[in-house]
């Protein structure tokens, strides 16, 4: 008798909880599920200039086109390369900065505020600044290298596939490292100091305590930072659009730039939707693989 009563109270609580969740779920469906579903639906149609911008059912034809589209796979590779390099660099640098900012020193708050500035500025503006820094005639980058005697004549940074990629990576690392360092700093501050003290009493070096205490306890923040940055870097648009526009010769064209061109310049809406879906699915696959690897690593370290 009492048991059933408890159950009904519990059930009632649960039901109330569900009711309270409905608005949130509705918003999620509206802003996430609907656009994704709509993109998927649109990707099954030809809607382009050849069809007078009217949707004509085409089945999986658009996906067939993607398989044979060298430009898509090139831009996919360019994006992947850009993402992996920037995220790794930002993680290493961000970790270093976070460790420094975690130390007690005079004016720490001022330094912390300054360190977040690049992240707070609008990307398009920063990209314009970097474009001038890497300008082949008047750029500071060339000027410094020339004065140091490292090069004899100015490098046309944004005009060569390799140097343009380097320039983009430098600009992005400069801009988003602060974000990672702030995230990691928050994690660092939640690690109790007595852990280090106890470990030091046992005779551990600084490197050992970083490797044995800081890194494992910081793992959740690191994973969040990686996931955040991974998703963001993969969708990068503004920085590349302003700095190189995808050039020279498509060498820095990222996926979002190609999708934008397909929709807005070529007016090939069905095909661009299909590219969105493919990129989306490939991203999910990458994230799933990452999570599986991480959880395996974790269960192994626990044993």
């Amino acid at each position: 008798m009492t048991a059933t009563k408890v159950n009904t109270i519990q059930a009632r609580y649960r039901r109330t909880g569900l009711y309270l969740l409905i608005p949130a779920i509705a918003v999620l469906l509206l802003v996430f599920a609907y656009p994704i579903g709509r993109s998927f639906w649109l990707s099954l149609f030809d809607q382009n200039l050849g069809t007078g911008l009217e949707p004509v059912f085409a089945g999986l034809n658009n996906y067939d086109r993607i398989i044979g589209d060298g430009r898509f796979w090139q831009s996919f590779w360019v994006t992947t390369r850009f993402t992996v390099i920037t995220v790794v660099l930002e993680l290493i640098l961000g970790m270093g900065i976070a460790l420094v900012l975690n130390q007690a020193f005079r004016g720490r708050n001022v330094v912390r505020t300054i360190a977040i500035l690049p992240w707070a500025l609008p990307t398009a503006l920063i990209a314009l600044g970097w474009t001038w820094i890497f300008n082949d005639q008047y750029g500071i980058a060339n000027d410094i290298l020339l004065r140091l005697g490292l090069i004899q004549e100015g490098i046309n940074w944004l005009g060569d596939p390799l140097t343009a990629t380097v320039a983009l990576i430098v600009a992005d690392v400069w801009k988003t490292t602060p974000f990672i360092s702030i995230l990691l700093l928050a994690g660092l501050q939640s690690i109790p100091g007595d852990l280090y003290e106890a470990y030091a009493l046992e005779g551990a070096s600084a490197w050992q305590s970083f490797y044995r205490i800081t890194l494992p306890l910081l793992m959740p923040q690191v994973i969040i930072a990686i996931l955040f940055r991974f998703a963001q870097a993969f969708g990068i648009f503004d920085l590349v659009q302003v700095m190189t526009g995808g050039g020279p010769g498509g060498a820095t064209e990222v996926v979002s730039l190609y999708i934008y061109a397909t929709a807005m310049r070529y007016l090939d809406f069905g095909y661009s939707a299909a590219m969105v879906v493919v990129t989306f699915l490939l991203l999910i696959v990458a994230v799933v693989i990452c999570t599986v690897l991480i959880s395996r690593y974790r269960s192994r370290t626990r044993e």
Binding site: D46, N48, L49, G50, T51, G52, L53, E54, V56, A58, N61, N62, D64, R65, G68, D69, G70, R71, G159, G247, P248, G249, G250, A261, T262, M264, R265, Y266, L267, D268, G270, Y271
Partner: protein, 442 residues
Amino acid sequence: MKLLFFLKRILTKYWLRSRLFYRLTLLILFVISAALVIVPVLSQPVTLRLLMTAPDVPPWNRVMVKAFEAQNPGIRLQIVEGPNATNLIEDLYTSAFLLGDSPYDLINMDVIWTPKFAAAGWLVDLTDEFSQEELSVFSAPDVEGGKYQDRLYRLPIRSDAGMLYYRRDLLEQAGYQPPKTFEELVKISKDLQEKGLVRWGYLWQGRQYEGAAAMFVEVLKGFGAFWVNPDTLEVGLDQPAAIQAVKFLQSTIQEGISPPGVTTYMEEDTRRIFQSGEAAFLRSWPYVWPLANAEGSPIQGKVGIMPMIGAEGNTGGSCLGGWGLGISKTTKHPKEALKAIRFLTSQAPQKEFVLEAGYVPSRKSLFTDPVIVAKYSYYPQFFQVVQKAVLRPPIAQYAQASDILQRYLSAALTNQMTAEQAMQNAARETRLLLEAGRTRRG
């Protein structure tokens, strides 16, 4: 006196209190207040807007807008300044139309935008507005460039065509006639280079951009090949003649006739080298002529021009460029817009415009007009070039097809792919692209 008093009494007692009076007063007041709003709106001049690259705007305002507004007091022509890059102007027009309510009534269109804008249904069909006689005064390829699937959407206002510049003095010195084929051009170039008369033979634009597509259209024509047949949507890029065309361009670099940097050059890079006297031949647009012959130019008066040549046994063809006016489908003033197009493309304003800005006209008679020839002696020669101009394929998905070609052409020219590989890939991707648009046509 009594009568007046009587009338007044009737007015106050019956008339002023009557319903009729009440209603009449209301009606009169309503009409007056409405007129106060409507009359100023009606008498306000209609404003026609169009968007253009900023450097084009001052000559337009000085000549076209002034002349038009003087003759049409009720219509104002407002030219909006856009960024100085035509692809950005195209993007701005595109987003304006995609959003539905375009702020532009007239569209100043590059020849390659016309099929896209027409296929998207953003342009007013002008076919029935202009008779054959009216169109026959324009140079024929320019009119053709304003058509999409046999309907007219654009009236030409300015011509442009690729041409071959050569150093008359050097050719005379070595005893040559201007070349008639690519083979002769190669032979003359080599000879002039061996004699030490000039450093480079032939300059063309090989960077990955629209200019390279325009240049390649001429070489394709010169080898009797084609890119896309607009009627059947057949792709000809992987046919032997097209591969020959790529190999010809590759050979000019390999044999040292063209500088290796030609694969990164745009128009201005090639003009600077040519103008400094370092090359015998140059493929470019009409704008080079006044600059090459300007005061202080090292090659002033030493340059000749001719239409683009072809390979042995083929006639060459120049690539058509140029601008024209169309009407936006969302305009609220189609009649006024049509009036504006008629006026702006008519003889007198265009003549004044050509004299002021140095553009190449679209009306045939202006090429030989005495006043214009007195100022620009070379225009009759331009006429020959424009008459032999070939269009880039007028297909709706031109921008996409051009990007595919540019990528693979660039890959072949920079030796990342063989000519065969590059053209087969380009052809395959172009076919996939056109296939996706063919569904509706059935």
